[in-house]
Amino acid sequence: MQHAEARQEDLSASREGRGRPATRDEVVVARHLEKRFGDFVAVDGIDFSVERGEVFGFLGPNGAGKTSTMRMVSCLSPVSGGELSVLGMEPNAHGPEIRRRLGLVPQDDTLDLELSVRDNLYLYGRYFDLPRREVRQRVERLLEFAHLSEKGDEEVDNLSGGMKRRLTIARALISEPELVILDEPTTGLDPQARHLLWDRLYRLKQEGVTLVITTHYMDEAEQLCDRLVVMDKGKIVAAGSPRQLIDTYSTREVAELRFGVDENAAAAERLAELAARVEVLPDRVLLYTDDGDEALRAALGLGLRPEASLVRRSSLEDVFLRLTGRSLVD
């Protein structure tokens, strides 16, 4: 955990140090991108661009419009309005050409339940028109990459959730894509399975693959993403590196105090002076401040006796709370 955090800061620091070069290689560019289903606007005029080699994230709660955006980028769903360019081409006109160079890890695994693990990969390669021999070699390599070498002949139905997810990622890599899109890659997985998966994604990044990830887990976004946008109700409400977002929209630290369900609001009024900002959630009070321990001491000094308390660093969860007034995971 510690290690990953340090590394994260390295990355964003070097990126900022480098600045934005004049000739950027933009893999995905969206301008006023829209997706409508009848009267419902799922994606409401968003702008973003993804650079080659980076991990770009879409953070937001369920229903924010992340999946609709991903489906447009991967040419699975027609663009309703605005402009979108993927790998320099327009999805509505060049779907098959774009998909040839792109890997998709959809939210549901959509694995072929009537095929074995190995055949799932093999056939997917064949859908890209790759020659048999070439696919067979890639399948063995990817089984190893996904830690599934011993499960090759197993029925997909018998795999655990984490294994299915890794198989789906391996499947997306069979065409050796330049751009991989992952929609909620770790939703529903246990912590161990998540870390194994993150490790695989780091390796991909090191190989120069561009990754676009959607998630509603702030820790996942912080761990993986070089840059991200925060989405809510079809719109982008903030953009930047995780560090930048936290610096801009939150304080360095947060003190969390729990007073019991009915007393949080009353306590919050008395705490108002102690922090730059105070948020009351149903189960706790958050004090946003640069020195959490100091704020906690001051609270105790006022004679308040919380049932539990802790001091932590600000996270993207706090950024989201600040921007929307709501939590990421309900």
Binding site: F37, S77, P96, P106, D112, E114, D119, R126, A172
Partner: protein
């Protein structure tokens, strides 16, 4: 000046949009490959599909046939088994094609959602429609071939023209695979499959598979003769008996048009379902 561009645009549009929508991009064979691999481990499911028409031939054709005696088929007296065999060939082509294009397609479309994954590759919606229909035809062709071998071995083939029954049975498969795919795209749950049997079982029983149309009153003869299965049964029975009449072309045209219409509906509706 104002009319021409509109005219041009629509013709260009139909040229550009129709073939890929209906015929895909030449990747349909990958869908066939998928089915071949999927059944490689369950070949026995495929193999047992042959037995149902075979059992009917033995039971109704031979067993019950003894009680039916001989029947007039265009001036000839033929054993009942020889009369019923072409009918069973046509109906098994129907049942096989319907099973593949309804249950199996619905499972992949709505339950396993495996077409969603396929469409994230260069494969297009039209490839899926064409590939699944092609697979139905291949599978049906294997059954038809096996059934015709049995017919020949039992001495139930009436003329040399019967070799053409193989193609005719494939045409029946095509018609029902197309209709089945088209209908499946509008199905919401497994319960809707009752409608498939509600259409196919009465057709199987009443479309002159087991006895000549002449048993019915005149108006009913007209109704029955319009069903696609009757068209197939009559076509195969006439070929088997070596009766080459112009009606054959009508039957064939009817079935081909039906299959094509079903596929067009399927390709369009699949596009709306899978690419919202």
């Amino acid at each position: 000046m104002t009319v021409r561009p509109v005219f041009e645009r629509s013709s260009v549009l139909s040229l550009r949009v129709l073939p890929p929508a209906l015929l895909g991009r030449g990747m349909a064979r990958r869908l066939v490959e998928r089915n071949v691999i999927a059944y490689r481990r369950r070949w026995w499911i495929l193999a047992t599909g042959f037995f149902e028409p075979f059992f009917y031939l033995l039971s109704i054709g031979l067993g019950l046939g003894h009680l039916v005696g001989r029947l007039h088929l265009d001036g000839r007296l033929v054993a009942y088994a020889a009369y019923v065999a072409p009918g069973l060939l046509a109906s098994s082509a129907m049942n096989g094609a319907l099973f593949d294009s309804t249950f199996n397609v619905f499972f992949k479309l709505k339950i396993a959602k495996s077409y969603d994954a396929v469409l994230a590759t260069p494969v297009e919606v039209g490839d899926i429609a064409l590939g699944e229909v092609t697979w139905s035809l291949l599978r049906g062709a294997i059954y038809s071939f096996a059934f015709m071998c049995v017919m020949a071995a039992m001495g139930l083939v009436l003329s040399g023209w019967a070799v053409l029954c193989f193609g005719a049975a494939t045409l029946v498969s095509f018609a029902f695979a197309g209709i089945g795919m088209g209908a499946t795209c509008y199905m919401r749950s497994w319960q809707d499959f009752d409608y498939v049997s509600m259409a196919s079982i009465p057709m199987f029983l009443f479309s002159a598979v087991f006895y000549p149309l002449s048993v019915y009153p005149g108006w009913l003869q007209v109704v029955v003769s319009l069903t696609p299965l009757y068209q197939g049964v009559d076509m195969i029975r006439e070929l088997d008996a070596g009766l080459l009449t112009p009606a054959l072309a009508l039957h064939a045209g009817y079935l081909f048009a039906l299959g094509l219409a079903g596929m067009a509906v399927a390709a369009r509706r699949l596009g709306a379902l899978l690419r919202p």
